[in-house]
């Protein structure tokens, strides 16, 4: 069964056209790497799957239904905010806030909830984060915490928006490895957006490239080619294969790397548009 289906869907934010006439189908248990230049619509695509943005034309189906906010089957790790208030709150309370967090009244954490959180933290090897404040955690530890939270309640679909940003190499590999393992063990469909294709190559089944309002979904061999990417980026793109790695180059410049350097700037623009 297809977990995510776009049928000639068009996504707009205000008057700005982000993705036009997109059709794609993602099967259960697939690990999809979502790539593309900044502002290509990676976050917008995820927000549409979450039911936060309705397509202005066409249809989107998630688990065979129209997406609706608060779907318990979707685990979501939003992009890290560049300007976030300092949170002097321990990891346990941070995660606990998401457990039935929409109910009115005082927060309460039952034994069952506590056990569920402990198990999830243990699964990602982050038991010690329960008692430590977020202000004390490194970027990698925060991502681990967010991943543990996203795995609560046995989701069937995980949406991870740029989870590797601002992590050092070692932690990036750990996160990819953790996500890949869980997705495999529990048959979870994963949409994992990133700036660098090469780190994900070992983990992903197919890649979804966004750019210029268009989308291309397929294996790395099908999608990461000079003609397909030139169309998506709107400029001449070369794809160079070397030593099991794939490099995407524009006029000799490694554009994925270039993107990365300006990631923070572009994200703040992205956020403003989403606000």
């Amino acid at each position: 069964m297809n977990v995510v289906e776009f049928d000639q869907a068009t996504l707009r934010i205000g008057n700005h056209l982000v993705l036009a006439d997109i059709s794609l189908a993602i099967k259960g248990g697939e690990f999809i790497g979502v790539l593309g230049p900044n502002g290509a619509g990676k976050t917008t695509l995820m927000r549409a799957i979450l039911g936060l943005l309705r397509p202005s034309a066409g249809n989107i189906r998630v688990f065979g239904r129209t997406p609706r906010r608060g779907d318990a089957l979707i685990g979501y790790v939003p992009q890290v905010r560049t300007v976030a208030p300092e949170l002097h709150v321990r990891g346990l309370d941070f995660i606990a806030s998401s457990v039935r967090g929409g109910r009115w009244g005082l927060p309460k954490l039952g034994h069952v909830d506590r056990k569920m959180i402990d198990e999830s933290l243990a699964a990602v090897g982050a038991v010690d984060l329960a008692g430590r404040p977020l202000t004390d955690m490194s970027g990698g530890e925060r991502q681990r915490l967010l991943l543990a939270q996203a795995l609560l309640g046995e989701p069937g679909l995980l949406l991870l928006d740029e989870p590797l940003i601002s992590l050092d190499q070692r932690y990036q590999e750990t996160i990819i490895e953790l996500v890949g393992r869980f997705a495999g063990e529990r048959n979870i469909t994963v949409l994992f957006s990133a700036h660098e294709l090469n780190q994900l190559i070992g983990a992903l089944d197919r890649v979804l490239y966004l750019g210029n309002g268009r989308a291309a979904l397929g294996t790395v061999a099908e999608v990461v080619t000079s003609p397909v990417l030139s169309k998506l980026y709107g400029s001449d793109i070369d794809v160079v294969h070397a030593d099991g790695h794939v490099f995407v180059l524009s006029r000799g410049r490694h554009i994925e790397h270039h993107d990365h350097l300006h990631a923070d700037h572009a994200h703040s623009r992205d956020r403003q548009r989403h606000a």
Binding site: V89, G101, G102
Partner: protein, 283 residues
């Protein structure tokens, strides 16, 4: 013995009716401010709280001008401004410049209203810097009623408020009415600011609404322990401030502001140094 001496001072103070009133009013306002302030600091919205106080100044002086008790103008305009700020959404309430311009304008209007009611220069000082020693019984009753309503409202929205404060994007995705929660919270803050302003004045509301919660968050990382400690610290600083003021003849608001700042910096400095020592080998 400092404790014996303090006990003797407090004993002497409690002989006076206005002192008993001061302790009661400061106690109510401090607990409300400490509880509401915890979330204000958690959400990084302290500047919005500051602005609400200034807007309240225009409300209070405007009320005096048309012959109402200043507290009703203060509460009315701050609550309206809180709701307005919330409805304009994060895009506006998060923008320091817009909020800063509005708060200056509000102070300007406050000055204009005072200009037409020159007899009340004393009133202006007590609005800006508080006058807890002049609180009477009806005012205490008003503080208690407003405080209870505020805390009931805070309890009602606390769970989604915590979720939306810690993880706004996820809360939105999970179907929490983030906009409503944030607007309701700013209305709650507005009442908290009004209470706090009765004790320490509009310009010093931070000493009860921001200092104690920030101190509490430095000391403990649990949510409930932080909330309770914030109220306890606010109460302790407010009461101790009144005692010191009685003993030294300094203004009460100054003593509370001093304790608030001391509490914050004393808990902040050693922790920062510890953190630096811990993290440096990692680099």
């Amino acid at each position: 013995m400092p404790i014996m001496r303090t006990a003797a001072i407090v004993n002497a103070m409690l002989d006076y009716d206005f002192m008993r009133n001061a302790f009661a009013a400061a106690g109510v306002a401090a607990v409300v401010s400490g509880l509401v302030g915890y979330f204000l600091v958690l959400r990084g919205q302290t500047f919005a709280g500051h602005a609400l106080g200034h807007i309240g100044f225009a409300g209070a002086t405007g009320a005096i001008l048309i012959g109402l008790a200043p507290i009703w103008g203060l509460v009315g305009l701050t609550v309206a401004a809180g709701i307005g700020m919330g409805m304009m959404g994060e895009r506006v309430s998060g923008r320091d410049v817009a909020v800063g311009v509005v708060l200056s304008l509000a102070l300007g209007f406050g000055l204009l209203f005072l200009h037409y009611y020159t007899a009340f220069a004393v009133q202006a000082t007590s609005l800006l810097f508080g006058n807890v020693l002049a609180v009477d019984r009806p005012m205490i009753m008003a503080l208690v009623v407003m405080g209870l309503i505020t805390l009931a409202a805070l309890a009602a929205i606390m769970r989604p408020l915590i979720f939306a404060s810690l993880q706004p994007e996820l809360a939105e995705a999970k179907g929490v009415p983030v906009g409503f929660v944030s607007t309701a919270f700013l209305a709650i803050v507005a009442v908290g600011v009004s209470e706090s302003a009765q004790i320490v004045g509009i310009l010093l509301v931070f000493s009860l609404m921001v200092g104690p919660p920030a101190t509490a968050q430095r000391l403990v990382t649990g949510l409930w322990s932080g909330i309770v400690l914030s109220a306890v610290v606010a109460l302790a600083e407010a009461w101790l401030g009144i005692i010191i003021a009685y003993d030294t003849d300094w203004p009460v608001s100054f003593c509370i502001a001093l304790l608030s700042a001391l509490g914050y910096f004393v808990t902040r400095v050693p922790l920062e140094q510890l953190k630096m020592r811990k993290s440096s080998p990692r680099l």
